[in-house]
């Protein structure tokens, strides 16, 4: 084992952590503001990946049309997210949690079958632009450029969300609305719009994650459920509603998994859930969450 190998493993772990975070961030954001567990987050992620394929196909399927897909697909699902919020979730806010959960769960069934119907059985391949598909040597280790880009995007997403929520007026409004919706409305802020915006933003982030992962895998049925459970676990470990928590938990799970693979065989399948169970038993509201009443 050489230093370059360790470096390689760290980068690998961070990459998977950041991919996880990209999905988890939207999930935890929506929970933090709307108090809804969005089961359909994974389905939206898959839908965006399929849309990105179609966008590229529309523009001739050249690798560089990926940029178009990266722009359009997340926006498309963000629009869908806004529609879902307005027509399906809005009537649910006064109802029990269970009913809200059922709506998002039912959406999973609907969206998954719709993608199957619209895109058919074949896995779809999304190509990377040449500039991203190369490799680069640093300190004796070779990394895929895309891996480094993903890590960068993960950190940028965290930074962006942090800046947005902490340094902009809209961000402050969102945090205020999450803490005390009634008082926020009494200050002249239309929370309905904020909720739609946040759910739409959550969908956009799921979409972005979907488009980002697409070139690393093939777009196919089943990609939603495998990511959802892991992202969900990360959100719970970090504390539901805490974006920083999700970020640290993603890194913890990503790196933990990498080094777990190195030292303990056969742990990967249960690793995330073991961490989650331990955290929940010790601190049921997660590492950085607040207990909800």
């Amino acid at each position: 084992m050489e230093f370059s190998d360790i470096l390689d493993i760290i980068v690998g772990g961070l990459t998977s952590g950041m991919l996880l975070f990209m999905v988890a961030a939207g999930l935890t954001l929506v929970f933090g503001v709307l108090r809804i567990i969005n089961f359909s987050h994974g389905a939206i992620y898959m839908l965006a990946a399929y849309i990105s394929y179609s966008v590229m196909a529309l523009f001739g399927n050249a690798p560089n049309t990926y940029w178009m897909a990266l722009l359009i697909a997340p926006i498309a699902v963000a629009v869908l997210g806004a529609l879902i919020e307005v027509f399906l979730l809005r009537p649910m806010y006064n109802r029990e949690h269970l009913m809200q959960l059922l709506v998002t769960y039912a959406l999973v069934l609907v969206i998954v079958d719709a993608t199957k119907f619209l895109w058919g059985p074949d896995p779809k391949m999304v190509l990377l632009p040449d500039i991203l598909s190369g490799r680069i040597a640093i300190l004796g280790a070779t990394f895929s450029v895309y891996s480094l880009v993903l890590i960068l995007i993960g950190f940028l997403t965290m930074a962006g969300l942090w800046l947005f929520l902490n340094k902009t007026k809209l961000g402050h409004i969102i945090r205020a609305g999450a803490f005390d919706p009634e008082m926020t409305e009494a200050l002249g802020i239309n929370l309905k719009f904020i909720y739609t915006f946040i759910f739409s933003l959550g969908a956009w982030m799921a979409g972005l994650a979907g488009v980002l992962i697409a070139p690393l895998t093939t777009v196919s049925q089943g990609m939603d459920s495998s990511v959802l459970l892991d992202a969900f676990a990360v959100v719970v470990i970090g504390g539901m509603g805490s974006i920083g928590g999700a970020f640290l938990a993603s890194i913890l799970v990503g790196l933990g998994n990498s080094f777990g693979l190195l030292w303990i065989a056969g742990i990967a399948i249960a690793f995330t859930f073991i961490v989650m169970a331990v955290v929940l038993v010790v601190r049921p509201w997660g590492l950085f969450g607040r207990p909800i009443k």
């Binding site: 959406l107 069934l109 199957k116 119907f117 049921p284």
Partner: protein
Amino acid sequence: MKSNRIGTFLPLLFLVFLFLLGQILPNFYLRIIIEMAILGLFAQSLNLIMGYGGMISFGHAAFYGFGAYAVAILLRDTGMSLVPAILTGTVLTGVFGFIVGAICLRAAKLYFAILTMAISQLLFVLVYQWYAFTGGDNGIHGLTVSPWMTDPQHYYYFVLAVVGLCFFAIRVILNSPFGYTLRALRDNQERTVFLGAYVWWQKLIAFVFAAMFAGIAGGLYVGYDHMAYPLLVNWSKSAEPILMVILGGINTFWGALVGAVLFVIMEMVIGKITTYWLFFLGATILILVMFFPKGIWGYVEEKLAPFLARER
């Protein structure tokens, strides 16, 4: 209390009807009814804690699967016959439910739901990997039960008897002080504390009951399909009883059964026309949740209310 008599009379009439069905229906339909009854018991066991106790569990399949695997392994390894195996399996599931409940009840509401899901997912991983004991991903197939039980008509009566007894037992529990304390907890936990209730124990015991009834349902399933497999423990299986309870009507006694019946029918009927049946299931749930939050049976019950005694 005249109307009350109609309330108890109807289920009896229903039982007679089911008995006659066993005489006239071909095996194929009997097997469908068996499946409905088993899933109905599974859903009802969840309804006990979710509908009446207000505890949402995302991991209820853990107990259904635990019961199923316990029975399957007992049948495979010990040469026990089905009935003692189910009895043993139920006790084991109860013990398992006690441990899981004691851990999960540290948390409340959504966190409780998530914790149950995490634990059931851990069990899934265990079952999936422990090849020597649980058969790993393939599961346990081709179990033999006594020839008498293998006959669908006989098994139909057996399941009917067991599920009927369980429903009766659940009914008794729900109509006992314990059952009403459970409702009181759901309505207003704080108040019951000031009435001197041991909330934690109350919930834990309810949880164990629910686990045991789910375990019985799992055991009956093994006697029916002669197999156990990891998906019985998966979170997607946990979603099924939730959907059934909502489909039929939460907070109603018969809703869980009605939901299970509808679920099986939908799966068969729509699945026959299109392989996209989940789309229609999703759409149905959306319509129900948006427009009929009380579920199908809840809605019917509301319409029948003038004719029936209050059945709660």
